[in-house]
């Protein structure tokens, strides 16, 4: 059937099955990939377009309904002269696009509003954008961008030497607001074959494959475990426990079993009944208790007691110290599996080029991907090229392999490009999760409120495979006493295998779970002694000069006390406001809470170097070769700002080459909040290295001023100007390497696990409907010690986005295999759930960091849930011991408390 319609004002035609989704037709047939697909089910709004002027989800419209109608997509937003529309400009200037995967949908939804109302209120913006989810920004800057659209934003172009600290727009931002950025699913060649992965419907099962010949005759290939040269991968070199394709045993629901390779239509058309798999279901192990029961079956045959690993920190004498405490607090806190819910599902494609394999996929870690693929395929590392596409959100979930090994194996075998794009349910079932934790804590202090001792045991459900479980179990004991000076410490972390989904890396590596416990303890001790909760924390805050429980002396940059001081006026005012509100009777009760955190930047006691290069080519092109993947957090921009000032040329003159393992050097993975600190320092060193070479060529002093025009580099030193003609001198290359200094931890957890730590405190004001058990977060004020804000807009974006995820962790997010495998049942905060956020940036300089900067990627999330839960406690007297604090859980606790009284 032929359908004629109008597309961005021009006549268009579609010939194909009328039941085809508009989103698919736009992307696959008409080549307009600016419209994104995050779920194909109406839940995420990434596909939002205007249909006859009204916003709809393009994934829910049939092409058969399009005859004579008019559709507008992000590609139609640019002005006639090709410049950005004011809405796009406003998004860019406000930093409203981070990863950018939600941006086209946001822009189109906003467009519907702005046509009718050029000066909308916040509430109107929320109502109209309520159907588009963003996982990165916390929505704050999106609301600002839409409300501020009438005030044409000025582009900020800092001169040489003033890039660091400037709120410049993302260097990769224009592509994000025009829909021209290319994500994992956006650049698949039209002749690519397609993979459909067949996954285990059972959490624990044995299976046997029958005769695959009939299937193989209908498809290009059917891959099984037997087709994988080395069928194991995993984060740690000695733990390659996760098969690419399960070999007779499935250990979690969603585990890959078969890969069907063929045309997209062919693989989708295979009915499940034609798959020759005979399942024998086994009783699954769910939860830590089941895994640790005596005689429990082993999830991994070589891991007795289902124990992945354990370890801890011991410092001082906790038993004796507890005996001397004037006040003690204890409690046990439980958290759930949490899904990353990046709006871009895993996607990519691969091709074989001679004896090399090239992979174009969404990832947080191209170099680890390269090494892992080489290992799985038994190829030389040099034979693997990873070209990261734009990454539509990662948060730790795109550190593990996903589509890469299957597309690589199939493309290698068939000699044709092969693509794989996860569906939303597939992404949720197959990918890693935040570790469910059970944290038991006991803290004690003296009569003045000085902490004397703590004892914390954090047990984690690491799911079916190790993934980042060891990282979580190692990191948590170092952080579990909280950002406080505690002279006597015993902390313990342990992780157990279960038949849950593999728990991996998720923004904070277990620290957010532990923070829920230590912050509840701080509240309890303060309340016992009648000390203000914020002042109690201030009195115990780690400060420069203190020694941590691992025996590390914090020489510099420990700004928690400053954060709390900055919050103090907000805290006092919030307490007063809440008290005034609560004087009125009624079912709505308000409360205020405070949460603190610290976070070690980079790997725990492990080398994690970054290498960066800055090149000046003979044609005058100035290039930053940046292997640090920007997953939306803004590292492309940060690295450029840092390198620009180190070199002494304007940031605007840089061209970026990012990620590609053939073209850049290894800058490690985008995780552990390390890119600004580690790769940023490497970028700074690279810029300085190039500057040194230039100054030497020009025989100029250290204060010389550079400028670049065409192929001529002018070096002004005092009164003299010397010109360097790059065409004749040849290319120049600066390089920088940085590996943060750490030492291994001994058996008692003593050593220097991190070179520096970020500190933060947040306060939350909430309103609880005590009759319904619902919690509305009214306001959050966040104070973060970031060392130096290289780009304050991007730093705020990280904090706001982290807060939204922390709010979800506290109040709504719980992944239950088989039950919340879509964005309909798995709830993440919408634009109406995230309150107004005020960010306060504290800059307690870290001498090791570039311009004094530390990281902020994960810290935004860590204190939020503790602050919210503290506020709920303040409002109701209920201390949540299990998150998410769903309405029914809170209501039941309120009722139980009433009975107990």
């Amino acid at each position: 059937m032929k359908v004629a319609f109008t597309l961005n004002g021009t006549a268009a035609e579609f010939a194909g099955p009328p039941v085809t989704r508009l989103a698919a037709a736009l992307r696959d047939t008409l080549g307009l990939v600016g419209t994104k697909v995050g779920c194909d089910a109406g839940d995420c709004g990434a596909c939002t377009v205007l249909l006859d002027g009204a916003q709809v989800c393009a994934c829910l419209v049939a092409m058969g309904q399009m005859e004579g109608r008019s559709v507008e997509t992000v590609e139609g937003l640019l002005q006639k002269d090709g410049t950005l529309a004011s809405l796009q400009g406003s998004f860019l200037a406000h930093g409203a696009a981070q990863c950018g995967i939600c941006t086209p949908g946001m822009l189109m939804a906003a467009q519907e509003l702005l046509r009718a109302n050029t000066a909308p209120s916040r509430a109107e913006v929320e109502d109209v954008l309520g159907g588009v989810l963003c996982r990165c920004t916390g929505y704050t800057k999106i609301v600002d961008a839409v409300m501020d659209v009438a005030n044409l934003a000025m582009e900020i172009v800092p001169p040489s030497g003033e890039a660091v600290g400037a709120r410049i727009a993302r260097v990769d931002g224009v592509a994000k607001v025009t829909g021209s950025d290319r994500f994992g699913a956006d650049s698949v060649p039209t002749d690519a074959l397609w993979i459909r992965v067949v996954r285990s419907p059972h959490a624990s099962a044995r299976f046997a494959l029958g005769d695959l010949a009939p299937l193989r005759s209908r498809l290009a290939a059917v891959l099984t475990a037997a087709d994988v040269p080395f069928n194991g991968y995993g984060i740690y070199p000695d733990v390659k426990d996760q098969p690419v394709l399960a070999d007779g045993i499935a250990r979690y629901r969603g585990e890959a079993v078969l890969a069907l390779v063929g045309t997209r239509d062919a693989v989708l058309a295979i009915p499940d009944r034609d798959l020759p798999i005979v399942w024998q279901e086994l009783p699954p192990l769910f939860g830590i208790d089941a895994a640790t029961t005596l005689g429990a079956p082993l999830v991994q045959a070589d891991k007795p007691g289902n124990l992945l690993l354990n370890g801890g920190v011991r410092h001082g004498d906790t038993e004796r110290a507890f005996g001397q405490c004037a006040a003690l607090a204890q409690g046990t806190f439980e958290t759930a599996f949490v899904e990353h819910a990046y709006i871009e599902p895993e996607a990519g494609w691969a091709r074989r080029v001679g004896d090399r394999i090239e992979i174009f996929a969404t990832t947080q870690t191209p170099y680890m991907d390269r090494d892992e693929i080489a290992n799985v395929m038994r190829l030389d590392r040099a034979a693997v090229r990873i070209v990261p596409t734009a990454c539509g959100g990662g948060f730790g979930g795109k550190l593990d392999l996903s589509v890469q090994p299957l597309i690589a194996l199939a493309a290698w075998k068939l000699g044709r490009p092969v693509a794989l794009v996860y569906t939303r349910p597939e992404s949720m079932a197959a990918s890693t999760k935040r570790h469910p934790a059970r944290v038991t804590a006991k803290f004690g202090c003296d009569a003045a409120g000085k902490l004397l001792a703590c004892d914390v045991t954090a047990s984690f459900d690491t799911g079916a495979y190790a993934s980042w479980g060891p990282t979580v179990a190692n990191r948590v004991p170092v952080h579990a006493m909280g950002p406080y000076f505690v002279p006597n410490v015993r902390t313990w972390g342990e992780a157990f295998f279960t038949n849950g989904p593999p728990a991996g890396a998720f923004r904070g590596f277990g620290v957010p779970q532990a923070a829920i416990a230590h912050e509840a303890m701080m509240d309890a001790l303060a309340d016992k002694l009648g000390i203000d909760r914020l002042e109690f924390r201030h009195c115990n805050a780690l400060r420069a000069g203190d020694t941590t429980a691992t025996g590390q002396k914090l020489e510099h940059s420990a700004g928690l006390a400053q954060c709390l001081e900055a919050l103090r006026p907000h805290w006092r005012k919030a307490l007063d406001d809440v008290a005034a509100f609560n004087r009125a009777e009624g079912p709505k009760r308000r409360g205020v809470g405070v949460g603190c955190m610290w976070y070690g930047i980079g790997n725990t006691s492990m080398s994690n170097p970054s290498r960066m290069r800055v090149g000046l080519a003979q044609d005058g092109t100035l290039t930053l070769y940046n292997g640090a993947v920007d997953i939306g957090q803004g590292s492309n921009t940060i690295m450029t700002q840092i390198a620009a000032d180190a070199l002494g040329l304007p940031a605007a003159q840089f061209v970026l080459v990012a990620g590609d393992t053939d073209l850049t050097a290894d800058a490690g993975k985008t995780s552990a909040s390390r890119q600004t600190f580690v790769s940023g320092r490497a970028a700074e060193l690279a810029g300085r290295d190039l500057r040194r070479q230039i100054l030497r060529l020009a025989n100029a002093g250290a204060d010389a001023v550079l400028s670049l025009e065409g192929t001529t580099l002018a070096v002004r030193d005092g009164g003299t100007v010397r010109g360097i003609d790059l065409a004749t001198t040849g290319p120049l290359d600066g390089e920088g390497v940085f590996d943060p200094p750490t030492t291994p931890l001994d058996a008692n957890g003593q050593g220097v696990p991190y070179a520096t730590y970020a500190f933060a405190a947040q306060i939350a004001t909430v309103e609880v409907d005590i009759e319904l058990g619902t919690v509305k977060v009214l306001r959050i004020v966040a104070a973060h010690d970031v060392g130096k804000a290289i780009n304050p807009t991007l730093v705020e974006g990280q904090i706001e986005g982290g807060i939204a995820q922390g709010l979800g962790l506290a109040l709504m997010e719980e992944y239950l295999p088989g039950r919340t495998e879509n964005l309909h049942d798995y709830l993440i905060p919408t634009i109406g759930d995230v309150p107004e956020i005020e960010c306060i940036l504290i800059e307690d300089r870290e001498p090791l960091g570039p311009s004094g900067a530390k990281g902020v990627g994960e810290p935004g999330l860590v204190p939020t849930a503790p602050a919210i839960l503290g506020a709920v406690h303040h409002a109701t007297g209920v201390r949540a011991t299990r998150v998410p604090l769903l309405p029914h859980r809170l209501r039941e606790a309120i009722l139980a408390q009433g009975k107990a009284r």
Binding site: M1, P17, P18, V19, C39, D40, A41, G42, D43, G45, T48, L51, A54, Q55, V56, C57, C59, L60, V61, A62, G64, Q65, E67, E112, E126, D127, V128, G130, G131, V132, L133, D265, L268, A269, T423, R424, P425, E426, P587, L772, T774, L811, M812, E814, L816, R819, N822, H824, D825, L827, T830, I831, G832, D833, L886, P887, H888, R891, E892, L895
Partner: protein
């Protein structure tokens, strides 16, 4: 290969139902049920049938055509009787869903958590079904027979929702409880229409959703309210035993006990809202 019909006339649509077809209206339930697989349904797209559109007054009340969307309802010029239904419409999904999804589709999909059902029950709606065999009208309360089951025969289409004009001045209201602000399936929702005559409740129709396989009217409560004065004591007339017919379940969104508990609160708040 599956076929796709988009007829311009109801006659042709009904004729095409001689063999089984999936009806497609706004697609907001249809497509989410078909993620990541080939769509093989033979489809009857009813969007091209002019006779199924619109929201219009009739001599007896109002007629909502089968393809009327949530957004069209919100924009329609309707008396306060419809306020509750409009409140429900504003709470459905996000704007995109309201712009595409139809009320009729919401009823035919027959989810226990369908937000359209309680307000339409409280409006005493009747459902008009048509097939080549003729048309019939059934009360909404009998149209939905179970979780995702209706009286629709395979050859039948829902063509309109009819809402009778109440005997007295009437107002309605709706409350939804969900775990987040937008795009959320109801944990529970309540709707009521009160007919008011000289400060007294001449008639009450109250319905509760997501607390049983099919949303229900609350006859015991309605009886307790009928004839009483519309004053501040209204909410206090609700007794737990009025809700004895509810049979909520435990699910990911809430426990059964919680639903029983909050429905009382929601109803009290809903009724309090009617008090001038």
């Amino acid at each position: 290969m599956a076929d796709y019909l988009r007829p311009a006339y109801l006659e042709d649509a009904l004729r095409s139902l001689a063999r089984p077809r999936t009806v497609l209206a706004g697609g907001t339930d249809f497509y989410p049920a078909r993620v990541g697989r080939a769509i093989e349904d033979d489809i009857l797209d009813i969007g091209g049938i002019a006779g199924l559109r619109g929201i219009d007054p009739t001599p007896q009340g109002w007629r909502l055509g089968a393809t009327a969307t949530w957004s069209e309802l919100i924009a329609a010029d309707l008396p306060p009787l419809f306020d509750g239904l409009k409140q429900a419409a504003r709470e459905v999904g996000g704007r995109q869903i309201q712009n595409a999804g139809t009320l009729a589709g919401n009823l035919c999909n027959a989810s226990p958590a369908a937000d359209g059902v309680p307000p339409l029950l409280a409006l005493d709606s009747e459902i008009e079904l048509a097939s080549l065999r003729g048309t019939r009208r059934v009360p909404l309360a009998t149209f939905i027979v179970g979780n995702r089951r209706t009286l629709l025969a395979p050859d039948e289409l829902l063509v309109a929702i009819h809402i009778p004009k109440p005997a007295h001045e009437a107002r309605s209201a709706f409350l939804k409880l969900g775990a987040r602000r937008y795009l959320v399936i109801s944990i529970a929702m309540v709707a009521a229409t009160l007919e008011i005559e000289e400060g007294r409740i001449a008639g009450a129709r109250v319905a509760v959703g997501a607390c049983s396989a099919v949303a229900q009217r609350m006859p015991a409560l309605e009886a307790a309210l009928a004839g009483t004065r519309l004053d501040e004591t209204l909410a206090s007339r609700i007794e737990p035993h009025h809700l004895a017919t509810l049979a909520p379940i435990d699910d990911i969104r809430g426990s059964a006990a919680y639903r029983c508990d909050v429905v009382l609160t929601l109803l009290r708040r809903l009724l309090s809202g009617f008090v001038p």
